[in-house]
């Protein structure tokens, strides 16, 4: 037996540890390598240490989220110079510290393994340019190519043969693009967004003379009626809505807001409603008009000082739409429409306390504008304009091109009127219907330049690909609403040889200016292209101007040294630093007063009823995906992996039908069917979804990519290919709904990975609810803990616990994505998902209770139950672990020590909550996705069990900071990743030993219960029952 180093040899009482050590040392050759020292490692010094980095300590940068146009403020956590986590900026007025699932997944855009690493040019061989491949070129050559082509056009006065298409941009980059288009001699410019809200803008123009989108304040609404608006998913500022909506649903004075949702499919937003009306697709406007009619005829108009003429003007628009008449066309009973109208204009709650939200893709059929007009009128007569619905002096949405504008550009391309087309960060090849002819039109453009950070269907068709920074590597600013100026700063150096789009514009603009002679005095010296400096300098120039405006505008704003009229550069530096640190500048702007348009006339509601089309069997409803938005999120593996909030499907897309509809077309669950419209056909797997109107087929938008990287390509189907390219006549928007399709079942099955197959609780009372009346009556009783043979644990210092409010949780999955990012959770992929394998530490279970409260309202008591390790006091997992890898800490945590775990999986078998995850394989993080890993959390390897730790690394960090400040931890010091990002603030974490902590108080709430309390596991997680009406 070899000598045991650092031990006194065998003692008289041989402990378990000593025994193992002896066995280990005495074991023959196999064990020797395990006993040898760790292999030698290099330790690399800095040459010059970066000022703002302490190794092992996070550095945070305030910035702006770039995943959608809403402009949420972010704080990006970096470690040793790389971004590892994104959180909402608590001081940002829009998102107030929260982020949605897409914002959380922005890191995977930055670290996407398929990103462009350098500029690419199409190799022109055999003359067949579109079929050939790409070759790497230098940035200088790439930019020179643009300069040469643009110069030859602009010097011959053909600047209008150049076109630039960008997504919605605001701020400095927006200005710069405009300046570039002027400098090259009048290039066309479009801001293209897939969801452009054309009908809402047009309707607001018709009704209020404002072609604009208002701000919706759900927090102040007592009755919310949503006509298809998925305001918790993709419709406008969803994170802001989610926070406000949770406020509205909170019980105040024994009541909370009532939410009625009218849509042919039960969306996530509809799942949160008290009543869901599955009316005929496209008839939402009729209901709204009938409500307006009812409110006027019953004299319940809630507008102060409205003139009789105005009233009659409105009434004349909707006089034909009586509740009785509309009932037959919509499938909603007249009684229900009348009672809803009364609730919506209830004098008891006062004017301006209700809100009708209309929109989203679901009401964008051929009558979209008329529908929106009816909804706008409904809000007007209920007095909501200026109260829950605020029109601000400025809105960014006005600058977006309509879909018709995009079609016009496509036609110009097809007619050979465009020679140079620059497509920045847009993917029209995916988001336009195929028969809009964009692909053919691209062939007619001699130079197609795509600037994007990642390959997609559009870059695949470009002649020149210029790789750009992702938002996390970029400088910029964003102005999402009046008075909000977000400042975007890079959280890290660019990963690849990429450039900022602004710098590409500046470089090419300068070269073009230098070679172009012009007589226009404006173009001779007065452009940014005549000045030195890169985009960062331009940004600072813009902010210097803003600073000077602020100073001259007022002397009482927060501007530093505003009494100093000298406005020295020093003052600007202080302002700039402060803005960078806080993520921008926010001012409170009062909403504009909004009145009815004087030109509001009868024809605006002429074609309110949807056109009746019986040509094919089913009506197609496409809906934007919570995870993928318009498809731009599909290359983020987290967004593919995390189950859809409603159907719990992953890595795929599908077509939804009710059981009856499926039976009528002869298809069953999992079967592949061909869907044929007048405009195209696709093959999709059938999923049975009972929460849909009969005769409707619903398909999510966002999947079906062909050139979008390894995670998105070849998954699911793109329903946009089935849609009519013809725009809606009034507003020029896309007609997302109402296309008729035929279904042909195929003798093939293509399973869709699905992690929850039943939404029935089987009376296990996992997700519980309580009625408002019961709660108000105080008729609550709670199960006391049973006696137990287990010894009681002592928690001398802290006892960590969590409270989850099921009344606030809307099932949006943001917490799940935050958990993936924080805790190095690997994705398993579609194949493993088909076997039911996921590594997620936090899942949201969905249960649907049947209820028959209202005759029209379908029972949609949908309950979302975030399920994570319950950190039980009497944990069944602990008693079966043979290696003591899982045990109860004296702070109330159920610990999982990876290096002790030998993978017996007894614990997972014995866990009644099924929250433990076993690593069957070593996780894979394809480079550079591995750079996102949180260095504070062990990346687990094959053979170990893992589960939620209550973010123990954050508990340590919180305690560490408290000790630095020589104090005890206080409530709010420690927030797990899930609670941090929750847009509805449904999750509260804290110390149960502290009776004043929020979690302690919630744990004593009347709505409290524990899941599976009959097992006497005594969880540290308390759920608060959902409140139902």
């Amino acid at each position: 037996m070899s000598k045991l180093p650092f031990s006194n040899g065998l003692t008289e009482t041989v402990g378990r540890r000593t025994f193992l050590r002896v066995i280990g040392s005495a074991a023959p050759a196999a064990a020797i390598s395990a006993c040898s020292p760790l292999p030698p490692e290099k330790i690399i010094s800095y040459v010059i240490p970066p000022e703002d980095i302490v190794p092992g300590v996070a550095t945070w940068y305030a910035s702006v989220c770039g995943e959608c146009p809403n402009g949420c403020g972010t704080l990006v956590k970096t470690r040793e110079g790389r971004a590892i986590k994104i959180e909402g900026n608590p001081s940002h007025p829009i998102n107030r510290g929260s982020l949605c699932i897409r914002g959380q997944a922005a890191l995977q855009g930055l670290y996407g393994p398929d990103r462009f690493k350098n500029p690419l040019s199409r190799r022109t061989t055999n003359g067949n340019t579109r079929q050939s491949g790409f070759e790497s070129v230098s940035w200088e050559d790439a930019e020179q190519t643009i300069v040469d082509r643009v110069t030859s056009l602009s010097s011959s006065g053909q600047g209008d043969r150049i076109a630039v298409v960008t997504p919605l941009l605001t701020g400095t980059l927006d200005t710069l693009v405009d300046e570039w288009t002027v400098a090259v001699g009048g290039a066309r410019r479009l801001q293209y967004e897939t969801f452009a809200y054309e009908a809402m803008r047009k309707a607001n123009h018709l009704v209020f003379d404002r072609e604009s989108l208002p701000i919706y304040d759900f927090s102040q609404a007592d009755v919310i009626v949503s006509f298809g608006a998925d305001f918790l998913e993709t419709w406008l500022s969803t994170v802001s809505h989610a926070r406000d909506y949770a406020d509205a649903k909170r019980i105040r004075n024994g009541r909370n807001a009532r939410h009625v949702h009218l849509e042919s499919r039960l969306s996530l937003t509809a799942s949160n409603a008290d009543e869901w009306i599955d009316l005929k697709p496209g008839t939402e406007g009729l209901v709204a008009a009938a409500m307006v009619n009812t409110i006027i005829t019953e004299g319940r108009v809630q507008v102060n000082g409205i003139s009789q003429a105005e009233l009659e003007q409105i009434h004349s628009l909707v006089a034909e739409q009586t509740a009785e008449l509309v009932a037959t066309e919509t499938g909603v009973s007249a009684e229900y429409i009348v009672s809803l109208s009364r609730a919506f204009s209830d004098p008891a709650i006062g004017p301006g306390r209700t809100l009708a939200a209309g929109g989203g893709v679901s009401v964008n059929g051929t009558n979209a504008t008329e529908t929106q007009v009816a909804i706008a009128l409904l809000n007007f007569v209920a007095g909501n304009i200026g109260a829950t619905i605020k029109f601000m002096p400025e809105t960014m949405w006005n600058s977006i091109a309509t879909y018709r504008d995009v079609l016009e550009l496509t036609n110009a391309m097809r007619e050979g009127k465009i020679d140079v087309l620059i497509l920045h960060d847009v993917n029209p090849m995916f988001t336009l219907p195929s028969n809009a002819g964009f692909a053919e039109a691209l062939d007619m453009v001699s130079l197609v330049v795509a600037t994007s950070s990642h390959p997609d269907e559009t870059t695949a068709r470009a002649d020149l690909v210029l790789p750009t920074h992702t938002p996390l590597e970029s400088w910029g600013d964003h102005k999402p609403a009046s008075g909000l100026h977000g400042l975007m700063q890079p959280a890290m150096r660019p990963l690849h040889d990429t450039r900022h789009f602004g710098d590409v514009l500046l470089n090419t603009g300068r070269a073009i200016i230098a070679t172009t002679e012009t007589d226009d005095p404006d173009l001779q010296e007065n452009t940014p292209f005549h000045r030195a400096g890169d985009f960062f300098d331009r940004l600072r120039d813009e902010w210097r101007t803003r600073y000077q405006v602020e100073i001259s505008d007022s002397t009482n704003t927060a501007s530093p040294n505003s009494d100093n009229t000298g406005q020295s550069e020093l003052d600007f530096e202080a302002f700039w630093t402060k803005s960078l640190r806080e993520g921008g500048v926010w001012e409170t702007i009062e909403p504009d007063s909004t009145t009815l348009s004087e030109t509001l006339k009868a024809p605006v509601l002429q074609s309110l009823a949807p056109s009746v089309d019986t040509s094919r069997t089913l009506t197609l409803v496409t809906y934007p995906s919570l995870h993928f938005f318009d498809g731009r999120g599909a290359n983020r593996p987290w967004l593919q992996e995390i189950p859809d909030p409603l159907l719990k499907t992953t890595w795929s897309s599908w077509v939804e039908m009710t059981p009856d509809t499926a039976a009528n077309v002869g298809a069953e669950e999992g079967q592949l069917v061909t869907l044929t419209s007048d405009h195209g056909n696709i093959d999709a797997t059938v999923l049975i979804n009972p929460h849909l109107r009969d005769g409707v087929a619903a398909i999510p938008i966002g999947q079906g990519h062909t050139h979008f990287g390894r995670y998105a390509s070849g998954r699911g189907v793109n329903p946009i290919q089935l849609l009519n390219a013809e725009p809606e006549s009034a507003s020029g928007g896309m007609c997302w709904t109402g296309t008729r399709i035929d279904v042909t079942p195929l003798e093939l099955r293509r399973p869709v990975p699905r992690l929850q197959r039943t939404f029935d609780q089987q009376e296990r009372e996992l997700a519980q609810a309580i009625s408002v009346e019961t709660l108000a009556a105080g008729d609550v009783h709670h199960e006391e803990p049973h006696l137990s043979l287990n010894p009681e644990h002592e928690h001398p210092n802290h006892r960590w616990g969590m409270a989850i409010d099921l009344n606030a949780c809307n099932g949006c999955n943001a917490c799940v994505a935050a958990c993936y990012a924080e805790n190095n959770i690997p994705v398993t992929g579609a194949e493993q998902m088909l076997r039911g394998r996921t590594m997620s530490w936090l899942r949201i279970e969905r249960f649907v209770e049947s209820s028959s409260r209202e005759s029209d309202a379908r029972g949609v008591d949908t309950r979302f139950l975030p399920m994570l390790c319950q950190h039980c006091d009497h944990a069944p997992c602990e008693t079966v672990c043979p290696t003591f890898a899982t045990y109860h800490t004296d702070e109330g945590l159920n610990a999982q020590v990876y290096n002790r775990c030998v993978g017996t999986r007894y614990c997972a078998n014995n866990c009644p909550y099924k929250v433990r995850r076993f690593n069957w394989f070593d996780p894979s993080f394809p480079e550079p996705l591995n750079l996102q890993l949180n260095p504070d959390v062990t990346a687990r390897s094959a053979g170990t069990m893992e589960k939620c730790t209550f973010c123990v690394q954050r508990i340590h960090a919180g305690k560490d900071q408290a000790r630095d400040e020589d104090r005890n931890t206080k409530d709010g010091d420690i927030t797990p990743a899930c609670a941090q990002t929750c847009p509805a603030q449904a999750i509260v974490f804290g110390d149960l030993n502290d009776p004043t902590s929020r979690v302690s108080q919630l744990t004593d709430d009347d709505r409290r219960y524990r899941v599976l309390s009959e097992l006497n596991t005594r969880p540290a997680v308390t759920y608060l029952k959902k409140v139902v009406k």
Binding site: P37, I44, V57, Y898, R900, R963
Partner: protein
């Protein structure tokens, strides 16, 4: 401990367990080379690799005991974060641009500096990946550097003195009556 796994099960799992439960020392360091003279004189042809595989024949004794430089002057992050940090080349050059800048070993540093290269030191103290150790917490708790690293100030060639095994950690944690929870270091 209220429960013990049964013995036979321990034997079964033992071989799997060894790899993660035993952390032994680097073994006997080679006979210490009396190199101080060589360092000072910069003997031509002196191969630094012969000194325990380090790229530069660096003597802690020279810096700590003779020059009186405190540990955290160079290992500046120890009180601020989990990692004590290896001094940057800039920090070395800050003094050595003028001090002993003609000696062979210092010229190596200046070489690294001029070429903007980091110095690839060989790590002496290392912990397995599943151990989370914070220098900051120990500095804050007034644990002297020497308690874990030995009397480095007397070493010409830095070497590991303590085992850094879990049992060794726990001895001290027990003596000082601080947490011995697994989750303190393993998560």
């Amino acid at each position: 401990m209220s429960r013990h796994p049964s013995w036979y099960l321990s034997i079964l799992v033992a071989t799997l367990f060894i790899a993660s439960s035993l952390v032994l020392t680097r073994g006997n360091p080679e006979e210490q080379i009396e190199s101080e003279e060589s360092v000072l004189k910069g003997v031509p042809g002196f191969a630094a690799e012969t000194i325990d595989g380090q790229p530069i024949a660096f003597s802690h004794k020279r810096h700590v005991t003779q020059a009186g430089i405190r540990c955290q002057f160079c290992h500046a992050y120890a009180r601020r974060g989990p990692v004590a940090g290896i001094p940057s080349v800039q920090r070395c050059v800050g003094c050595h641009r003028t001090i002993l800048s003609e000696t062979a070993e210092v010229m190596k540093i200046l070489d690294f500096w001029e070429n903007e290269n980091p110095i690839p030191w060989t790590r002496i103290h290392n912990l397995p990946d599943y151990v989370r150790f914070s220098h900051k917490a120990h500095v804050r708790g007034n644990v002297d550097c020497a308690e874990c690293h030995g009397d480095v100030g007397q070493m010409n060639i830095a070497e590991q003195v303590e085992s850094l095994s879990m049992g060794w950690c726990l001895t001290c944690h027990k003596d000082r009556n601080v947490s011995r929870d697994c989750l303190l270091c393993h998560y």
